[in-house]
Symmetry: C2
Subunit: 375 residues, 2 copies
C-alpha cells in the first residue's frame, strides 16, 4: 500500500462488453445511440458499465471519430476578472451544444505563445478562442496553417485572422474622457503602467488624447507608474505624483479600477476630497466599484457577452449552418458609468455622449438610482 501504487489499467469498452456478453462496438453504440439497441442489450450494457465504473477514453474516441468535442480558450492570465467572465459566457453557451472548453493560460512572451499554441493545437480543438490576440508572427502563422476556426476576442486587432468579437479600446478611452469634459473637468490626467506592458491601456490613452485635443484641452497630464504586482499601491503613488507634478489637475483617469482604488484610498489618507479636489475614474467596473465610498466611476465592459456571442459564432461555424463566416467582426460596445467619484456638478441631468458605432450590449444594465450610464 505504501509502495508505489502500480498504475492500475483503466476499464475499457472491452471489459464492459465481456461482462455484458456483447461486442465492444455494441457498448459504444449503447452509450452513444441507445435508441438503436434492444432494450435488453441496453440494460445489460448499462449495468455492466455502471458496475465497472466505466469512463470511456476520450482521446481514443476523438482519434477514431476525428472529433475532439472541445473548444480551446487561450488567455494571457487567469488574474483578469473580465477575461474570466468571457470564459464563463463561452462555457455556459457552449455546454448546451455538447462542447466543453479547455483553458490554456499564461502567455506573455512570444515564446510562450507558440509553446502554448502547440500544446493546444496538439489536442485538435474544433475551434480556438483567443482572449486578447497573440502578437507573435510565429503564433499567427501556426494558427492560420492549422485551419482551425478561430475567434479573437477583446482586442480588435487591425487584421483579424478569422473572426473577431470585442469592442474598441480607443473609443472607450475617448468616451470616458469626453464625458468628464462634459461634466466640466478641464485638466484631466491619465494613469497607467509602461505602455508596452498593457497595449489596451495604451489604446485607451490614445482615445483620451483625441478627446482632449478636440476640445483644445491640456494633454500633457500623464503619469506612468512602475508596474503590475502592486497594482493598487501604484494607484496611490500615482495620485501623489499627479498632485505634485500637475497641481492644476482636477481629474484622473486610471487604467484599471484597481489603481483607481489605490488612488481613492490615498486621497482619503491625505484628506483630499473626491471628487471636489480631484475626481477619479477607473476602468472595468469591478465588483467593488459601486460599493466604495465615494462610489467609483468606471467603464463597464461586455465581458460575459463577448463569450456568449463568440460561442454563437462558433456553433454556427462548426455546425456548418452557414453562419459564422470568416471575416465576421462584432463590436459589442461598452458603457461609461458615472458615480460619486466624478460627481462634480450634482443635479446635472445625464446627457448622451457620442455613442459607439456598434452594438451596445453590456453586462450590467441595472444601474442604481445614483448612477448615470452612457453607452
Amino acid at each position: 500500500m505504501a509502495r508505489k501504487a502500480r498504475r492500475q489499467a483503466a476499464v475499457t469498452s472491452r471489459d464492459v462488453a465481456a461482462r455484458a456478453g456483447v461486442s465492444p462496438m455494441t457498448v459504444s453504440r449503447t452509450l452513444r445511440t441507445p435508441e438503436l439497441v434492444t432494450r435488453g442489450t441496453r440494460e445489460r450494457v448499462e449495468s455492466a458499465a455502471r458496475e465497472l465504473n466505466y469512463v470511456p477514453d476520450l482521446a481514443a474516441g476523438a482519434l477514431s471519430s476525428q472529433r475532439s468535442g472541445h473548444v480551446a480558450v487561450l488567455l494571457p492570465s487567469l488574474r483578469h476578472t473580465g477575461f474570466l467572465r468571457t470564459v464563463d459566457g463561452l462555457s455556459d453557451t457552449l455546454r448546451g451544444h455538447g462542447y466543453h472548453i479547455l483553458i490554456g493560460d499564461s502567455y506573455y512572451s512570444s515564446d510562450e505563445q507558440v509553446e502554448l499554441l502547440r500544446l493546444v493545437i496538439g489536442r485538435r480543438p474544433e475551434a480556438i478562442v483567443l482572449v486578447a490576440s497573440m502578437d507573435s508572427p510565429e503564433a499567427r502563422e501556426l494558427l492560420e496553417q492549422s485551419g482551425i476556426p478561430l475567434v479573437e476576442t477583446w482586442g480588435r486587432s487591425a487584421s483579424p485572422i478569422d473572426m473577431a468579437v470585442g469592442f474598441s479600446q480607443r473609443m472607450a478611452g475617448r468616451a470616458m474622457t469626453e464625458s468628464l469634459i462634459e461634466r466640466g473637468y478641464r485638466h484631466i490626467g491619465f494613469l497607467m503602467g509602461p505602455p508596452h506592458t498593457d497595449l489596451y491601456a495604451e489604446r485607451r490613452r490614445r482615445g483620451h488624447l483625441e478627446a482632449l485635443n478636440e476640445h483644445g484641452l491640456d494633454s500633457s497630464i500623464h503619469v506612468t507608474v512602475s508596474n503590475t504586482p502592486m497594482e493598487i499601491a501604484d494607484g496611490a503613488s500615482g495620485v501623489l505624483a499627479l498632485r505634485e507634478r500637475f497641481p492644476l489637475a482636477d481629474a484622473l483617469v486610471c487604467s484599471t479600477d484597481m489603481t483607481a482604488l489605490g488612488a481613492l484610498s490615498e486621497c482619503q489618507r491625505r484628506g483630499w476630497r473626491v471628487p471636489e479636489d480631484i475626481a477619479i475614474a477607473g476602468y472595468g467596473n469591478f465588483d467593488f466599484a459601486a460599493s466604495l465610498n465615494p462610489s467609483l466611476t468606471s467603464l463597464s465592459l461586455p465581458s460575459y457577452t463577448i463569450g456568449v456571442r463568440t460561442a454563437e459564432l462558433l456553433i454556427a461555424r462548426i455546425g456548418a449552418n452557414g453562419g459564422g463566416t470568416p471575416g465576421t467582426s462584432l463590436d459589442l460596445g461598452f458603457q461609461v458609468i458615472h458615480r460619486g467619484s466624478t460627481h462634480r456638478v450634482p443635479g446635472t441631468a445625464p446627457r448622451g455622449t457620442e455613442r459607439r458605432s456598434g452594438s451596445n450590449e453590456t453586462d450590467s444594465p441595472e444601474a442604481s438610482a445614483d448612477e448615470e450610464i452612457e453607452g
Copy 2:
C-alpha cells in the same frame, strides 16, 4: 471562402516522413529523442516538420504511449482568487517537470461534480488535484475506482481519499478571534452567508465560537446575509444589521475580505469610526486589503504554496521515487495579519497566539512596518 470552410485535415507524422524521405517512426524518434538519430536525418526531419507546421496529435500519442502527460486540476469556480493562486503554484512547479495542467471548473452541485469528473477522467490524467474536495459520494467512488493519484487541497476533509494539502479552517477562525480577544475586544460578531453554501466559512465560525467559549465571552453575535452575487453589498447590510441588533458589538469578523470591504465602506458612509466604534476583520488577505483606509486586518492563506507542495507530492508519486505515499497530509498553516481596522490599542506589542500545529509557510511573509503578523 465565405462558404463552409471544409475542415482541412491536419498534417501527420506520415506527411512529414514522406517529405523527409524517412519512415513515420523516425519522425517520432527525431522529435522525442533526437540524440538517437543521425545528424543528417535529424536535419531533414526537422526542416520538413517546420515547413509543414507539423504539430503532433497529443491524443494519438497519449493513446499509444499510455501517458497523457497532464495533471487535471478541478475547482468549484474560477472566481476565487486564492484558488487561482493555487493553480499558479501547481502550474509553475509542474511545468518544469514536463507536465502541463488541464483545468476543470464550476462544480457546485453533486451532479456537476460527477459530470465534470467523467470528462476529466476520460482524458486519463496522470494525477488529479481537487481544489476544495468533492462531497458527492458518487464522485468519491469514481475517484477511488479510477486509481489515479489524487491530492485534495484547501479543505482538509476528515478522510482524504489519497493525499491532502491544506490548512485547518477551524483553526484559522479560532486564531483570528483569539487575537481579537487579546487586543481587548469582547463582543465579537461573525458575518457569513448561509452555512450550507460555504462549508469553509462554517468551519471557521466553529473555531470562532470555540475561542469565545473558552474565554467565556458572548457567542450569540451572529449575522447571516443572503448570498453571493452581491457579496460586497452583503457586507454593508451585514454591518448595519449588526449595529442594529447587537449595539454592544465592538468587532466584526467577516467571512471574506469582500464583505469586509462592504462593511468598511458602509461604516464610512454612516460616519462610524473603524476601529474605534467597530473593528472589522476579513479573510483571504486580498490584494486590496493593505491599501484600504483604514487598512484591513485579514487572514493570509498559503494559496500559492498549496499548489507548489501539491505538485511536489505528485511528482514524487508519479515519478515513483517512493515519495508522495498515499495518506500523506500536509498542513501549511496561515497567518493573522493585523492592520488598521482592528488597531484598538495602539502601541501594543505583537504577542504570540496559539500557533497552528503544522507548518506555517505562507505566501506573504513581507509585512510592512504597521502590520503585525501572527502565525
